[in-house]
Symmetry: D2
Subunit: 300 residues, 4 copies
Amino acid sequence: MELKGIYAPIPTPFYPDGAIAWEALDRNLEKWLSSPLQGLVVGGSNGEFPSLSFAERAELTARVTSRTKGKLPVVMGVHCPSLSETLELCRAASDAGADAVLALPPHYYKGQNTVETLRTYFWKLADGSPVPVVLYNMPANTGFNLTAEHVREISTHPAIIGIKDTSGDIVQISRLCFEAREGFSVFVGSGGFFLPGLAVGCTGGTLALANLLPEACSRLMSLFLEGRIDEARKIQHRVLRLNHAVTKGYGIPGLKAALDAIGLYGGPCRLPLPELGPKNRQEVIQLLEETNLLEKEVWR
Amino acid sequence: MELKGIYAPIPTPFYPDGAIAWEALDRNLEKWLSSPLQGLVVGGSNGEFPSLSFAERAELTARVTSRTKGKLPVVMGVHCPSLSETLELCRAASDAGADAVLALPPHYYKGQNTVETLRTYFWKLADGSPVPVVLYNMPANTGFNLTAEHVREISTHPAIIGIKDTSGDIVQISRLCFEAREGFSVFVGSGGFFLPGLAVGCTGGTLALANLLPEACSRLMSLFLEGRIDEARKIQHRVLRLNHAVTKGYGIPGLKAALDAIGLYGGPCRLPLPELGPKNRQEVIQLLEETNLLEKEVWR
Amino acid sequence: MELKGIYAPIPTPFYPDGAIAWEALDRNLEKWLSSPLQGLVVGGSNGEFPSLSFAERAELTARVTSRTKGKLPVVMGVHCPSLSETLELCRAASDAGADAVLALPPHYYKGQNTVETLRTYFWKLADGSPVPVVLYNMPANTGFNLTAEHVREISTHPAIIGIKDTSGDIVQISRLCFEAREGFSVFVGSGGFFLPGLAVGCTGGTLALANLLPEACSRLMSLFLEGRIDEARKIQHRVLRLNHAVTKGYGIPGLKAALDAIGLYGGPCRLPLPELGPKNRQEVIQLLEETNLLEKEVWR
Amino acid sequence: MELKGIYAPIPTPFYPDGAIAWEALDRNLEKWLSSPLQGLVVGGSNGEFPSLSFAERAELTARVTSRTKGKLPVVMGVHCPSLSETLELCRAASDAGADAVLALPPHYYKGQNTVETLRTYFWKLADGSPVPVVLYNMPANTGFNLTAEHVREISTHPAIIGIKDTSGDIVQISRLCFEAREGFSVFVGSGGFFLPGLAVGCTGGTLALANLLPEACSRLMSLFLEGRIDEARKIQHRVLRLNHAVTKGYGIPGLKAALDAIGLYGGPCRLPLPELGPKNRQEVIQLLEETNLLEKEVWR
């Protein structure tokens, strides 16, 4: 398996009572599967994994793979507080049909994280997981940055096939690309720096934005690959504010509000994520309109 | 229940194969119960809670309460990634005989934490927990600071009886003490600022150091209460470096090395915590000797 | 010279056109000299030193010493971007009658600050200054923290007689007090942690708050020295919010608004410091009233 | 004047006694003027401006313009602690023949920096300066980040013609490019993210690296403009480690060691910058060799 192209880290749809909205998930998947998306991430940060039970995480992946039917790769987020639970979830991911797992570094005792313990941790995961492991650097949420030095030591394991870096540190991402061994892919972790990430050598991205604008993300990447940077940049610029709103700005509540606005199912979040007030919801809709890209999206 | 005096946040003893060393726990408890400690915290940060299973966390508390037999209060750490699991663990804590639970704020989506969601989160815990809730501010590990403003809004719930603040921000701790409603206690979260914490109004502390030096911690507090600040300060100063080594410096591996050195069971940590190398271990022993306090401790 | 008791870091009064209001300074000094203040700092952070010319800084000190007439020590802030200018200002300080100088670490190339270069820098200052040097740790403004390790290496020079630490890191301040050589004093740098600073061994403080409440600050310290901590704490608690408003909250504009409110001359700041709007000004007045301490101050 | 292409922020050469090495400067300039560099920055961060006197800063610029003779634009760093001195230096810059000035935001009272005070500050500079103003964002040194929101408000003044952003925050740089008014240029501030900076819309860069590798930097930019991103990326990757060594890693001492190694004059720094030890100096030489680009540089 090789990480390439545009992956959507899909949110988990909930009913107002907190139950998973399975049919809404199916309908969303139908749309995403008719788009140029090249992969899906289930139970990642945008999937609200900390608010899901162990069983729900596996079940969600099973439902998604039952719909994707192998047409595109499905990556499952497996982070649990302990290594043993994470390993168990790797096995459940494989049973549920996931093609790879996405794994955060341990981060509660971040002050004690050494390159040795990180390597040991990830190698145990890679040894024990039936499917390949993708590293997941998400410092805004974990408070810990997996550096290029860390990754150089960890990534020599053949079952560790790539990293999704959400740090936004473009020099770090450049170093990751430069130092990556053959077969190790670096993935952009946010639509805010998709173009510069591609410029420094990323092979694609896992972008919250791709849930909303798969066509635009795909077009940006195609233009880039054809060397038409000026046109790619125009798309990148146009999505900056919307991307901010559905990531750092309003987070998953913002993303779900945007999904609601374009006719997919967003719905509420589980606690502790807040509900988006009407004013912010209006702003998200406004930003969607400003992109001028939605009209070309398949679901409009 | 009122938080007062010196609590030890006890580490969880493991065998080299990672299994819990139950007998070692019993022997440690025997020592701690013969000391001036006024309370125990089980399954907190020093207890390596992220590396424990749900069942182990409850079982550890049950074992401890079977030994303490109500002689002193036992507080159980209950943080889980999701609210629903945390609530379940509150009930398990009560079943296991805990007198209160210690609860971190949600912190994965830290960028979306508002005072409203924090209040909703903790009030749901307080409503659902059969035993009182103690807030737990631990920014070095969570990457999120529970501010005095947050606490003012959260702490109006009568079942939320106090906070352990490990931030070391003494102005924040002063504000917490100043603004605390009747019946809400502020606890110092580290031996590095025990005396200044008492000075600004804390009623005690949950100190990793108290696992090692319960007599010294207790004496410091008594001297303080008698207004003999100069003598209290001498103890505070003398333990600064040792405290650093067993908290920020070497973390739980340092604390366990120190326990080994004084004749209690420290033992290894579970992954991802590193093992302490021989040189650092020697430094911890050296720091223990420098305190000049151990000779008066009961286990020497 | 020994650092002891309560120093006021006096603001520099300006007319609306930006000129120094010399007569207003004289009137303020008259008040401060009739208070229990034990020292003055001129041209420090509260004195807006970055907005003063070299000549103004020396002239201000000369004006102050012409009024204090040796009744209390006057310390002059001497930080300039370059070492050579700072040394020159040390000589000007001495000529102007200052008893000591207050010197920040170099901080523009903070990434290159090593303990060796810091020691070399401060020893050159101490060798070249006709009057003793007080270290000044002010990380909120400089973005660089002078650690206890740094200070241990720097402070062996006999002409370096103390430090004002504004970091608020009470463990660091404890270590500074513990490790201080005979004759090296540690001064609290903000009224927000005056009591805990005293508790861990500081000999006094340079407090913006002392410009407003010299009596209250002095009483807090006396109560502390008598071991009447509960009463000292009450004062500490009561000034927390006001102290915040005139330091981190609204800065020097807040301090000057408060001076205006109590009948001293505050006046406007030089650019780039903002003017305080009427609403914030009202809040400062409100906080002054809340302290319940002003009625006992000499100037009301 | 329009900011475009590659500028070198030249270091100030000193003799071991600290005096400016004027002839060495001339020889360096001769080399740089025979290279593809399109502009020079004098008395910027790499020019050790905080260690230069007011007179030296102007004199350096005059010397440089007497050599460049208008062949390429010369930008002078003018930051002083106070606005009035900075304004005076703007006038001196113009007298010395500078084409524009580079101005940091005020940053000592960073906690009080509002968009209004920043705008007022920079507009006063722009009104008073005889030559255009370039904003300079350098958070690693100032501890303050000039955000895209700030710049949007400040940059409406017609005499403010661009910004050099050294933050490395590629999303912020993208927003700056997206929101820039006609005639306002965004310049990359470090060779570590030159390619991604160009990708998102920068018109060039002021790169410490350009002092060493003007040909390589120029080639990278040409390749980029021709849409040959893969080749441009190869150069970007190859210089990553060297760039780090002469910026964040070893700073100006590293840059000067590299200049020494390639036959230009680097020489020592003024205090408080440290001297580079022999081991680190060797590493810098090693990194120069690893780039494989130097052989094509004019001075080898």
